[in-house]
Subunit: 279 residues, 2 copies
């Protein structure tokens, strides 16, 4: 059993494997965060902690906020001890730990923290050519916004995009409301007004999306609104871009036949997006 | 790192752990079957193979039917070699194997087969007291029927039921159509007529559900229809029961305030449900 060249820790100890009875593996019973680490420091750590805590609470973990904080600390401390001042992506997975066969959680689950560090960060990518994915988001308001381990729709949307020769996919609900790209949130701009889909029924509430909505849009002179955006409306925007914690901001050059040549908001946001802001 | 007392194989070799970069763990990128094994023989093996193949096809695996057949053979052969003539449940998980960070499947994924055997089978349980779960199924017709690794809704529904003091939960869509119990399919009976929810938008297409729909209902003198059943309609039935591959048929004594005292169809089906029938 050999692993890739990434470094992996299980509950803070270097390891290359996870017990086969882990409920994360067997039932997707857990959540995760992917942290951007620059010279040993996590960008927007508090936002990641907040979302992780909310996810654990939705899964009825016993002390979600404390468990979230502890999990991130455990993972980051282990990284910094083994690889001081490292730069790369650190994925932190928190599962309900081991359990017997069946769906029911154990009475006293011992949560498991699996962290995985990949050295290096992507360089700025050229504007993406995207298409609207035929694989759509199921609407599940009870878990909307959380970064659950269950990511089938995004995996299949990105797989479809790759096969079809696109860089990324725009994902919608079954009735054609845009929600995200396959691996990030999406923003559309008309003049000085930014719009991003409401995530009340599905989608992941990204830390960079939050940074734009809560702070950077206004700081850079834009308005921002969370709203419904249908596929048909995409043509009416001057600019579309995606964002996530590792890639940062990425412009979209095209979504199917709609093309976008103005990337001014993405260019303005890119240098800010991983930076701390007053929460 | 210690595992429970179950026996586990990874790709047919005894093991107690799985590589931490497995996409099943990281992204729920896989499917599973839980087989009832009696004295070394799998009940309804062909139905499990069919569903596993369909699930792998929905996940765009390269040779889904062949991979499904091979995975089940690998798991069952390993079990029979290590523990001849065993009786118990054998869970077979098929994932897209290891991969680097990110959602995109690797170009040439090496699938991984994780199998786990728990000795013993449950004895017939007394009729279950159930309640309608506040956690509902998201509608996702693109993956409906498949037994994906992503089982958050059922985990949380069963967790809710346990906390609330019930044996099981009836799970619905957001608009109140019954789909399943937390860990099995559901049938309702009115006189000689059996009804089970259509699974076109969500739910798992159980092997025992299939056995009843395709063969046993008619063989025992019942009609059977796949239809919509709302929570409000449950009161109009003479009998309600659930079924799955391990428990078999289980009567429901109550769903919230609705009670069911007649368990005649469940009693008639119970001795047949794991038996082979002309496909």
């Amino acid at each position: 059993v050999s692993l890739s060249t990434d470094s992996v820790w299980v509950d803070g100890t270097l390891a290359n494997s996870v017990p086969a009875d882990d409920r994360g593996l067997n039932l997707a019973d857990g959540v995760f965060e992917t942290l951007r680490v620059e010279e040993g420091k996590v960008a927007l750590a508090n936002s990641h902690r907040d979302r992780l805590g909310r996810g654990l609470k939705l899964l009825a973990f016993s002390e979600p906020d404390e468990q979230a904080e502890n999990a991130l600390k455990l993972a980051v401390d282990a990284l910094n001890e083994a690889l001081p001042n490292a730069t790369g992506s650190l994925r932190v997975t928190v599962t309900r730990g081991s359990g017997p066969r069946g769906y029911a959680p154990p009475d006293n689950p011992q949560i498991r923290v699996i962290s995985r560090f990949a050295k290096g960060l992507p360089v700025a990518a050229k504007p993406a050519r995207a298409a609207v994915s035929p694989i759509f988001w199921a609407e599940q308001p009870q878990f909307a916004g959380a970064k659950l381990l269950a990511r089938t729709e995004q995996v299949m949307a990105l797989n479809w995009a790759k096969q079809a020769g696109y860089d990324d996919a725009v994902m919608t609900t079954a009735d054609g409301r845009c929600i995200s790209t396959a691996s990030g949130n999406i923003f559309c701009r008309q003049g000085q007004d930014l719009f991003t889909p409401r995530l009340t029924s599905c989608g992941i509430a990204g830390t960079r999306r939050r940074a734009i909505v809560d702070y950077w849009a206004q700081a850079l002179g834009y308005t921002v609104a969370q709203t419904d955006i249908t596929v048909d409306q995409l043509d009416s925007f001057d600019e579309v871009f995606s964002c996530n914690a590792i890639q940062g901001v990425r412009s979209l050059a095209a979504i199917d036949a709609f093309t976008f040549g103005d990337h001014s908001a993405a260019l303005a946001l890119a240098p800010c997006i991983h930076g701390e802001y007053p929460l």
